[in-house]
Structure formats: C-alpha cells, structure tokens
Symmetry: C2
Subunit: 257 residues, 2 copies
C-alpha cells in the first residue's frame, strides 16, 4: 500500500481551511459542500466501523505523529494543520486533535415498513442527537426529519449523536407528503389524551412522532396518527424534555417486541 | 398596596448591572451571591407558582409598559434596563425581556426515605436540566448532586429544567458520605450486567444513580448500590444519553408504583 499523500497547511487563508471552517461551524454548510465534518476519535471510529468513506483525514500537527496508522490510511488524502489552526477551525470548546471529512451519505428512500422515528420540527441539536442515539439503541433504523427540524448532519447534532448517525437511515428536510408511503402505524405522544404508555399494547414495527420543543406535534400530523399515547406523570409536571419522552417511548416499543 | 420602587439603569458600569451580568453568565456565581437569575416568562411564572421569594424584578425598557401587574408586584424592588443592556446581560441567544432575581433556596437536609435521584458528576447542563424535569414529572422529589456535577442553579441548568427546580428539594456539592443516611434502595444502571429494566420488579421509593457522561457511575458508588439494572438495547448501540436513560428508569419506577 502506498503511503497516503500528506499536506501540511499553516495559513488561515488557505481555501481548504476556509471551507473546513465553514463545515465545522455552520450547521447547514454540509448541504452546500456535500460532505460532513466528523471530529474527534470517538465519532471517527464510529464512522470507520460503519464503513463510511473518508475523503480526507485531518490531524493537528502535534497529534499527527501519534495517530494510529489505521486512521492515517483511512483516507486517500491527509491534511496536517498547525495546532492553532485546528483549534480555530473546531467548533468545540476543547478541540479534538483529528477529524475526518466524509461524503454526505446519499439520501435513502423511505422504507414503508421500517420502524421509524419522525421528527416534527425538533429544534435543539442536543435533543436531536439524543433521539438518534435512542433510535439506534432501540432498533428504529429509520429517522425522518420534517422541514424545520435541526439539520441532522450538523456538527452539534453529530456530536450529540455519538455515532448513531452511521447506524441509521436518515431522511431530512422532508414534507408531510413524504410520509404518505409509510405503512407502519404512527404513534404520537399527547399530554392529556390517549392510552397510558405503560399499559398500552404497542404495535411493532411502528413510527413514533416527536414534536417541536414548545409546540409539540402539528395538528395536521397528529390527525394522521393511528394512536395517541400519553406518558403518566404522577409528579404533576406537565411536560418532559422531548428527548426524554422519546427515550421512554422507544424503549417501551423495544421492550414490547 | 403601594407601587413598588422602580429604578431605571442605563449604564453598563453600574454595580448592580455588573453583579447581574456575572449572575446571568457565570455558572457558579449564584453560590457567591446567594441569589439566582431566573430569566424569561416561563421560568419566572414557575418560580412564582411555587412560592419563590422574588428579590428584584428586572425588565427591559420596551417590555416594562407591557408587563403584567402581577409580575411587577411580585418583587419589592423593580429595575428597568435599557434593551441593549438587558440583551448584554442575558446569556441567551434570544434574550428574554424580563427576569427575576430570587434568593438561592436554602439547602435542604437529606430525607432518608424519599424517592431520590443522585447525580454522580453529570456534566452537561442540558442533561442535568432534563433529568430534573423527569424527576419532577415522575414523583422523585429529592435530587442530590455529588461534587463534580453541573451547578444545579446555573442559568443553563435552570433553562433546561423549565421550572422543575422549584418543585424539587435540591442538594448539591454533596460527598459520598452525605448519602449515608439514605434508607431507600439505591439502583444503578449498567450497560452489560444486572436485571433488565423492563422485566425487573422495582422497589418504591428508591434512589436512581446517574453517572458521568463518559465514565458512568463511579466504582465506589456502584459498590454501594443495592441493585444493578440494565436497559435492553436491541439495536446494538452501547449507550444512551444519560438524560435519556434517566427518563426511562424514572418512568419505569413511576409506572411500577
């Protein structure tokens, strides 16, 4: 195997550096560039394990000599940045020392019979990432995000997802019409109405719909749902965090299989 | 009732403004000042509903004429800040237009027989806030945070908690010794060992222990637990977000009562 091509960059004004900075700091830039910035060893390892194609491996200068050969060989092209430049590009408070640029996975077609999570304008990157982790943990392989949800491949959602992205089929910027082919029963949570989750007989596979942090699931989407389910909250508070509610619902479905 | 004293401030260098800025932006400042910054109408309403004593009500200049009388009368002292100053003080991307300064609730003594959540160095403010919401929703009235956990009354945790703080007895900066008096059985989640949650007979009341995002629950604390419980993850991922795991466990306990 030939040694990969290694390029050292020290200038902030380098064109590659400028593109990478946008990719790392702007949540929707990946859509324009068609590629994704995956930062830190945990995420990069998850990407490799799941067979993602790495376009470019990026290392900080001080870490490069310590990098595992496996990582350096993962990409046909390797870029080494000065530590200051790497820190400047990273969106993290504690920047990692390496990252991969991978191709944005091609959009997959909706699988009508797959266990699915539908995100109806869930806004917070941490919530979306946590929901992707729960989906992957509980065997929901397909996640469809309606327009207005956080950008799934943004650096913040990727970080919160902890690698779950690479185990899922993700569809984003979807419209309500895109949900039409779905044949599995659609369940929505409701604060005051519906069957209590802990007593409900849950269908499998199914699609759980999770709504906007403030407004919940839209009336139109709720109207299309097969069932409304509520989570008993004996403590008296009126609402859970959406990612907490998602975890409870997806776990209940997985346990009922 | 006499009209409350209203003071208008326009200077960034005003001593009150400087203290408030620290309180709103520094996560542990409340411990030094013995008071808490509660920003935005949702949180302020939750504080009032739960009988918190408001020391000072703070309004932006443009919102002040529109403020509800109830809010203006909640505090014996009212401060009106120019809009620019309010935005500068706020830690939020979209600053609210009003907030309360409340006294830091006095530390409560540990209740040995109460349903309890123990935070073992949970770091992320969003996670801690979400766990407080779940605790409150599922009837766990007592939360004890061990040293190394996120500061419970920090602005970020308060925001993520959505008012749950005011419904709970919170103990923070606790040591393992502080847990000694606890008489309810202590449960920890484990990735590979213990009874599966969905089949376990759960005791009530109990204490759920939730651990550090990367390291989990410390070995010492795990050694003190009565039982290890695992969450079945048929999808194959190895870990859930800690707030997601917390929601699942607390809901299971509440459903088993």
């Amino acid at each position: 195997m030939t040694s990969p091509l290694v390029t050292a960059i020290h200038s902030r004004d380098n064109a590659f550096v400028k593109d990478l900075r946008r990719l790392a700091q702007d949540s929707t830039q990946y859509r324009k560039q068609g590629r994704v910035w995956v930062e830190g060893d945990h995420l990069c390892r998850a990407a490799l394990t799941r067979g993602q194609r790495v376009s470019i491996a990026v290392f900080s200068e001080s870490f490069w000599p310590l990098a595992q050969v496996e990582w350096a060989l993962a990409a046909s092209k390797t870029i080494v940045l000065s530590d200051a430049l790497f820190a400047d590009i990273s969106g993290l408070e504690s920047p990692a020392r390496m990252g991969f640029i991978i191709e944005l996975p091609a959009a997959t077609a909706l699988q009508p019979d797959a266990a699915t999570v539908v995100l109806d304008r869930v806004q917070d990157a941490g919530n979306v990432g946590s929901i992707l982790r729960s989906a992957s943990a509980f065997g929901f392989r397909q996640v469809l995000a309606l327009k207005g949800s956080a950008a799934l491949w943004s650096p913040k959602v990727l970080r919160a997802g902890m690698g779950a992205h690479f185990a899922l089929d993700l569809i984003e910027a979807a419209s309500l019409e895109d949900l039409q082919p779905l044949r599995v029963p659609m369940l929505v949570t409701h604060v005051h109405e519906g069957d209590f989750l802990h007593r409900a007989e849950l269908p499998w596979p199914c699609a759980w719909v999770l709504g906007h942090e403030g407004q919940g699931v839209s009336a139109e989407l709720e109207g299309r749902a097969s069932r409304r389910i509520r989570i008993a909250q004996p403590g008296g508070e009126e609402s859970l965090n959406v990612a907490a509610a998602a975890a409870i619902c997806l776990h209940a479905s997985a346990s009922a299989r």
